[in-house]
Amino acid sequence: MTEPERILLIEDDKRIREFVSSALEAEGYRVFEAGSAAWGATEAAKHKPHLVMLDLGLPDRDGTEFIRDFRGWSSVPILIISARTEEKGKVEALDAGADDYLTKPFGVPELLARVRALLRRAPAQRLDSNPIIRFGDFTIDCVSRTVSRNGEPIKLSQIEYRLLLAMAGNPGRVLTHRQLLIQVWGGQAAGNHEYLRVYVGHLRQKIEMNPAQPRHIQTEIGIGYRFNPDFNL
């Protein structure tokens, strides 16, 4: 039997800690709890978790600062827990290096789906030499820089290709507007959200069955986009 995956839960509310850890433990994960950022940092150093769940509203420190420090020495996925009205805080945390977020109140199925997606992605990240990305009926060949659906090539512009690659290379992960702009256009374009929206629109026209109700390139309102590689997440 393989060793259970370790999850560090940093959350100051005891009731939420209780229900989250019991839900995760029921799924076979090993959960370590921490009630503050400082405590969380110690636990992280001690137990080397595979995933960190972090509440943005911690009593001792700003969650985003914690992420910046943590990213200095670890690349394990970070899942943010935040209250609904904090779009700005979420974007900052994601820009700082968090991978995904959950909005309070969240349900257990949603929580487990996110945790599974992040843990599944983690080992795959190390295989980034793989030149072929597959999702749905599509195949991206990173060597020949071509995209095809069921073997039929699809014509994409330079930017559309780079945008698709940026998203499909991070399946399930929320990418902020800023992250995508920097990755596709470069640092000087970080503020031009209009570009991004126009090209996402073009890309959806080409790869989505119904561009108005996209399945692959999902909008996270006020935050960015999430790439969903299969239809049923």
């Binding site: 609904r84 512009s157 929206r197 006020g222």
Partner: protein, 500 residues
Amino acid sequence: MFFSRLIGKRLSLKGYVVAAFYILAGTLLTAPLRDVLDLSNVALLYVLAVVLTGVRYGRGVAIFAALVGSLVFAYVFVPPHFSLAITEVQYLLSAVIMLVVALLVGHVTANLRTHTEVVEAQAARNKALYEFARQLTATRSSEAVIDTSLRFLERSFAARQVHFVEPEHFDSAANALADIALIKASLERKQLLTRPTDVPAIVVAVLPLLPAESGHGVICLQVDGSQLETQAQRELLETVGSLVAVALERTHYAEVAQAAELRHAGESLRNTILSSLSHDIRTPLTALVGTADTLMLATTLSPEKQHALLYGLREQAQSINQFVNNLLDMARLQSGNVELNLAWQPIEEVVGATLQQVKSIADTREIGLAIAPGLPPVMIDAVLIERALWNLLENAIKYSPEDSPVELNIRQLGEEIDIAVCDRGEGLPTEDVEALFGLFQRGHAESSIPGAGLGLAIVKGIAEAHQGRLWATRREGGGSCFHITLPLGKTPCLGLEEDA
């Protein structure tokens, strides 16, 4: 003052010249006929000249015309001709009577003229006052009253540096024009007081606004002394003062009444919020506590029953969450300082994200989507517009039969984008549809459908924050459509790559 006197003098000089001209011309015209015309008829011609000049130029000219006329008459017409010597008593009598008549007539006509002038000036003053009073009636606030009054004084009295001084500013430095002693004296004696300035002929006037309950302010102004020379002029200014005072009084009480009304509206809103809160939070909470207790105490429940209860528990909690979200949104919108996070974006994107969310609560419900092709991007706060759309869709789903479709139609209407959410529910109330958009308003006050009447008020708030609006129409064949209309604005020009 000096200037106006000069004008007066010039006018009267002109009168004397005209009178002399009339007499000379009349004399020259009638002189050849002096053998034909009777002497008394000629005398009447001179009287005519006196009347004409008297009406036009006043008493002085009339007397002048009478004297000159009599002399010329005696010199030219009374025998012996071209001599002032009057040989017969009868002729002397003619000349004297003519002089007396001319003087009398001149005096009367000149009086008449003065009188007309006074009446005309009075009428002009009355008209100006009437116009001023009318303007004051139209004012709604103290600021408007003061503003109108100051402009009136500047216009009608050629006054400068007109300003209103409130009692608390009597001795402040801002009030450099009039000193406090003058203001106090004017208020005590309840009349207009003036003080000369360094500039000759310019005076500072202090006009007390007496009956004002809202504080005994004054109006200070700098004005040409000639504007306040006569009693009538001073009275006019004082009348203006009392008009302003009355208008200030009126707006003061109107403002007091409005504040009271606002307070009252606030109180009734608070009451509605309290009763709504107690109903809409207590009901799901009661169910929540009850269900949890049932699950804890009843150990013999079948697993299916347990599952059903747990499912209900979750539903209730979600409904409280929805309510709290709405309350928070409303509080944010009502606080008045919503900062819109505006960005150009295709409306499809927001719609797609909203539908994705709606699917999570009503995945069996058929939601028809029709987006007109080629819509320009809109400048919106995506998070807020998503909230608005979500609220409209949630309403449509909640208030229409399970098996009826809900439709979302988006199209361009002129310079606006129109987002319509249509259902086949029971439709709109027959009257006062707008009331539905109010805070804590519901179609039916007591309804089994959960909700607090916040949804539409939030949508309205969001639409208005975007300079748009919310409106509703009845649908042919039953049901209703709720529209959000947003202005399109000028689409930005993006430097897009061409190889696509």
